[in-house]
Amino acid sequence: MALLVSAAIGLLTACGLYLLLRPRVFSVILGLTLLSYAVNALIFLGGRLSATAAPLALPGAVGLADPLPQALVLTAIVIGFGMTAYLVALALRAKGETGTDHVDGAPPTDTPPGRAE
């Protein structure tokens, strides 16, 4: 189980990172979303796997799942959502300002490095 779950998280991470490195904002947003899945799962696993644990502090419940990482993940999910919303708007703004959705504001050109700013 540990190996499989780790591999799944690794795969999610790799997919997220690959998309993050693409030159278009939309792909980057997809990548960040995938990456956040992986990250949230990883934090959650900080409390270790417990397929049989009880989820709540119900009276008499034993072997509770670790609640602390869950609370952390909840915070992380919400923050990640806010960030995604902002990035979406920023992508549109950048599209409006530069006319492209390329992350660098312009598709790469082949001109040699010249006078940068």
Partner: protein, 934 residues
């Protein structure tokens, strides 16, 4: 006189700075008086110390400031300091007077005098510093004020470039000096000169001695324009002549040789010193003298002459003999006097004739005989003509060359021969100065007809040339005491007996002088051949142009380097970050105590459902990647991955996470879809295969790393504090859902921050989309059946039911999965559906909600809940809970955390709806595609 008066002495010029700036409003005369007053005040404060210092005393004052960092306000006045202070203030006074006449009448003088006084203060500080760091501070102040003064006539491009060049060289040298001083203090164990000067042997024997020496010498040589750092000085002649006279001949350029003299007891008397200091001085001495002759510009000639004389002084100090040091001090005095008077005279000539080009000047003796006479006397001193002060120190130099212990045998003649040669060159350029300016036939193109300058303008020359004669004729009487005192300060030992007399009999030095005089004059007569040679073979690049060109090359190189290093590409930045992290992480693991990746825990059984889940997740994620250019499809794959992740949360006993992930997922999809309307629906493949492989490799490494760390973590047990949360959840937090109690109580502060983030995201989005106009890129027609009737109809009963469910989720959150965040999202989704189904106009008109206010209200409620605990004397966010039992209804629990959760709920609704409506409103101001795409 209290030693603390030294501080007043130092302050006098600095206090003059604001004074002259204020006084200039009342007229330039006032400004001049102010400046003169500051200099005079300095002299007045100095006066009472004179006799004590001349009798070998050293006055030291010390105010501890930052002792831990070696930085104290410590000043000393010894013979050397007294000599310099006198020169600075005395010549300064004369320059103030001269400048008042020299500078054009429309100059209000305040700014000029302010800079001049700041310089004088800095220079005094150098002379008086006891603390070595203080010395560096004042050293750089002189560089800085020199920079400002050279560029005083900033309209001239030459002046501006020269100023920056001077700053580059002298400022850079100052920084080397700083390093040298810091090392020296480290080695000597103190920043105080009194202590450092006494530890010469310690320093000279230290391994760092060569480093210290080189660093200090860099400071000294740059400041004193020693070859090869000399080039800034001739260019500095772009400054107004009073500045040239004061800074660039009499005082500031002497700071370098002052430094050599200052550190003589610590750093000198080694072979390295002899080679570096003596060698540099010798080269500079000859080089300066040689070039001086070639200069057509009067000030240029004087500048190179200054370089040459500074070389001479350096050479003297480098000879490592006590008498040479005495000669050096003596020549410092003499040079300051005659060179200042020559510069002033040159300024007068420039002022009167409108040019400084010696090829255009001539026969001035007729027009201004008195000035000419004075200048000739001063030039004589420069050439080493007997009866003048320059002769005396040059004689002493000749003596030292003959007797030098390091040069014996055949080499014993080399040094005197060299000295004679250099003396000859000095004579030649002095002769050119005198001859071409005052005697040779006047050319017709002098811009103005010259005549004698105003009396007060010439007064400084009068005074200085009088000194030339006085010192030349009565050396013992005039400079004997100060020379002794200053030499003693330099040597930090008894001064060897010397006789200051104008006549030592017929001896070798006199012969050398004579040879130099005669040879120099002969050489001058043959000068035209030399000039022709230079004109033909050495078309020289002006050092100014060279500096500017070098600066531009550096600038361009920097730009190229930056352009190469920084392609302004986000993927590259990300790749760097990722690569950096992977390398750092790998190194961290590798550099730790070796351990296996797998920990002691069993890996656990894998059930088939998990396999299926992982398969679905993998397909979802890989599908997103492989199809990412078909954006809509990628979105579908991604949401499958999201669904599987939430199911996984549920599977592993985290229902709150599953609920949140699910609802967030939905809103995210809608947001992305709304954005996708304005983005290309399909992207082209634009990364090269190589780049894709690089990214894949990096991403793979990152994924592998995360997987490995995750695996290592999962197979290891750990001790956690969360047992406390579980135990305290019901008794302390009043809720059975530990996760929720953590969110709203144990770690409610996180949640407050989290809703602040959400609120800001919405506000930021609101600001970003404000007034934005975009061209839609999505297909589909907007007119055809915009609001499908089944969707519209079914969303109507859904809303009230969804709100009911949301209230249910909200209220149970403290004890069961749920809570304000999920409740808010459910309401937001239901509201959103009204917009989707009925259109923005329909919904907006009927909901009439200002979502910014909803958001603000939510934040306010959450915050107020936290603050309420202050009323009970408890820290922020302390919760209270209890059971109330009204009749009929039965007992139920009320927790203050619920109010907090209500705030969370409202913020979520406000933020999500603000984002969605603003994105929707983009459609109302779309641009037609025809105008689009610039």
């Amino acid at each position: 006189m209290s030693p603390h008066a030294l501080a007043a002495l130092l302050l006098a010029p600095f206090l003059g700075v604001p004074l002259v700036l204020l006084l200039q409003a009342r007229g330039r005369r006032w400004a001049a008086w102010g400046a003169a007053g500051a200099m005079a005040a300095g002299l007045a404060i100095l006066a009472p110390f004179v006799s004590a210092v001349l009798h070998g005393g050293t006055v030291v004052m010390r105010w501890p400031w930052l002792p831990e960092w070696g930085m104290d306000v410590a000043l000393r006045l010894d013979g050397l300091g007294l000599l310099f202070a006198g020169l600075i203030l005395g010549i300064g006074l004369l320059i103030v007077l001269y400048a008042a006449y020299y500078l054009p009448m429309n100059d209000r003088l305040g700014r000029f005098y302010a800079m001049l006084l700041a310089f004088a203060g800095g220079m005094l500080g150098v002379a008086l510093a006891e603390n070595m760091l203080l010395l560096v501070v004042f050293w750089e102040i002189t560089s800085l004020s020199s920079f400002l003064l050279i560029a005083y006539w900033s309209d001239s491009r030459e002046a501006r470039v020269a100023a920056r060049m001077a700053l580059a060289v002298t400022g850079g040298g100052g920084l080397a000096l700083l390093a040298g001083v810091l090392l020296l203090a480290h080695v000597a164990g103190s920043f105080e000169l009194s202590e450092v000067l006494a530890r010469g042997d310690l320093v000279r024997d230290h391994a760092l001695y060569p480093v210290i020496l080189v660093l200090v010498l860099l400071g000294a040589f740059t400041k004193s324009a020693q070859f090869p750092f000399h080039f800034w000085l001739p260019n500095a002649m772009a400054a107004p002549t009073p500045v040239s006279a004061y800074l660039h001949s009499a005082t500031m350029v002497k700071a370098g040789v002052f430094l050599l003299a200052r550190f003589y007891p610590v750093l000198a008397e080694t072979d390295l010193w002899l080679v570096l200091v003596g060698g540099t001085g010798a080269v500079t001495f000859v080089y300066g003298a040689y070039v001086a002759l070639l200069k057509n510009d009067l000030k240029g000639l004087l500048a190179y002459s200054t370089i040459s004389h500074l070389g001479l002084i350096t050479l003297l100090l480098g000879l490592n003999t006590p008498m040479a040091a005495v000669a050096a001090v003596f020549h410092i005095i003499n040079h300051a006097i005659f060179k200042a008077s020559l510069f002033i005279a040159a300024g007068i000539i420039d002022h009167e004739c409108g040019t400084r080009d010696m090829r255009r000047l001539g026969g001035l003796f007729r027009f201004m005989p008195w000035t000419a006479t004075l200048a000739i006397v001063a030039a004589g001193s420069m050439a080493g003509v007997p009866l003048l002060n320059g002769f005396l120190s040059k004689e002493m130099f000749f003596v030292e060359t003959i007797n030098h212990p390091a040069f014996f045998g055949a080499m014993g003649y080399a040094l005197p021969a060299f000295a004679t040669l250099a003396g000859m060159l000095s004579v030649a350029y002095s002769a050119r100065f005198v001859h071409e300016v005052f005697f040779s036939a006047a050319t017709a193109d002098m811009p103005r007809t010259p005549h004698e300058p105003p009396r007060w303008m010439r007064l400084p020359v009068d005074v200085l040339v009088a000194l030339v004669l006085l010192v030349g004729l009565l050396p013992q009487w005039t400079v004997g005491p100060i020379l002794t005192a200053a030499s003693a300060a330099v040597l930090q030992a008894d001064v060897p007996p010397f006789k200051l007399a104008i006549w030592h009999g017929f001896n070798m030095p006199l012969a050398m002088s004579a040879a130099a005089l005669v040879g120099g004059l002969l050489y001058y007569r043959r000068r035209h051949a030399l000039f022709a040679l230079h004109a033909r073979f050495l078309p020289r690049l002006a050092s100014q142009v060279a500096f500017e060109r070098a600066y531009r090359i550096a600038e361009f190189a920097a730009m190229r380097l930056m352009a190469l290093a920084d392609r302004r590409s986000l993927p590259t930045y990300l790749a760097l970050f990722l690569g950096f992290t992977v390398v750092l992480g790998a190194w961290a693991w590798h550099s730790a105590t070796p351990s296996s990746l797998a920990g002691p825990l069993p890996w656990g059984e894998t059930d088939p459902v998990t396999w299926v889940g992982v398969a679905l997740l993998a397909i979802g994620a890989l599908g997103t990647v492989l199809l990412h250019r078909q954006r809509l499809i990628a979105l579908v794959f991604m949401s499958v991955a999201g669904l599987v992740v939430s199911l996984a949360f549920l599977r592993f006993a985290a229902p709150d996470l599953a609920l949140t992930q699910l609802s967030v997922e939905v809103v995210t999809i809608v947001l992305l879809l709304m954005a996708l309307r304005y983005l290309p629906q399909e992207a082209v493949a634009e990364s090269s295969p190589a780049l894709r492989w690089r990214d894949a490799a990096l991403a793979g490494l990152g994924g592998l790393g995360v997987a490995a760390l995750c695996f290592a973590m999962l197979t290891r047990p750990f001790d956690t504090i969360s047992g406390y949360h579980i135990a305290q959840s019901v008794p302390g937090g009043g809720g059975a859902n530990v996760v929720n109690v953590i969110l709203v109580d144990f770690r409610g502060f996180d949640t407050l921050g989290e809703i602040a983030v959400l609120a800001m995201a919405a506000l930021g989005l609101h600001a970003l989309l404000d007034g934005l106009r975009l061209v839609p890129q999505a297909g589909g027609t907007r007119t055809q059946d915009r609001y499908p009737v089944m969707l519209a109809m079914l969303m109507r009963p859904l809303l009230p039911l969804a709100i009911a469910v949301s209230v249910h989720i909200f209220l149970r959150g403290h004890n069961l999965p749920g809570g304000g965040f999920i409740a808010g999202l459910v309401i937001a989704i239901a509201l959103m559906l009204q917009y989707v189904a009925g259109g923005i106009d329909f919904a907006q008109a009927r909901l009439r909600l200002d979502y910014v206010r909803v958001l603000g209200l939510g934040l306010a409620i959450a915050m107020a809940t936290g603050l309420a605990s202050w009323l009970f004397g408890r820290p922020f966010l302390t919760s209270a809970h209890g059971y109330v039992s009204p009749p009929i209804v039965g007992s139920f629990e009320i927790a203050s955390a619920m109010a907090f959760d209500l705030g969370v709920c409202l913020v979520v609704i406000g933020a999500v709806m603000l984002a969605l409506t603003e994105l929707g409103l983009l459609g109302c101001r779309e641009q037609a595609p025809a105008q689009g795409e610039g």
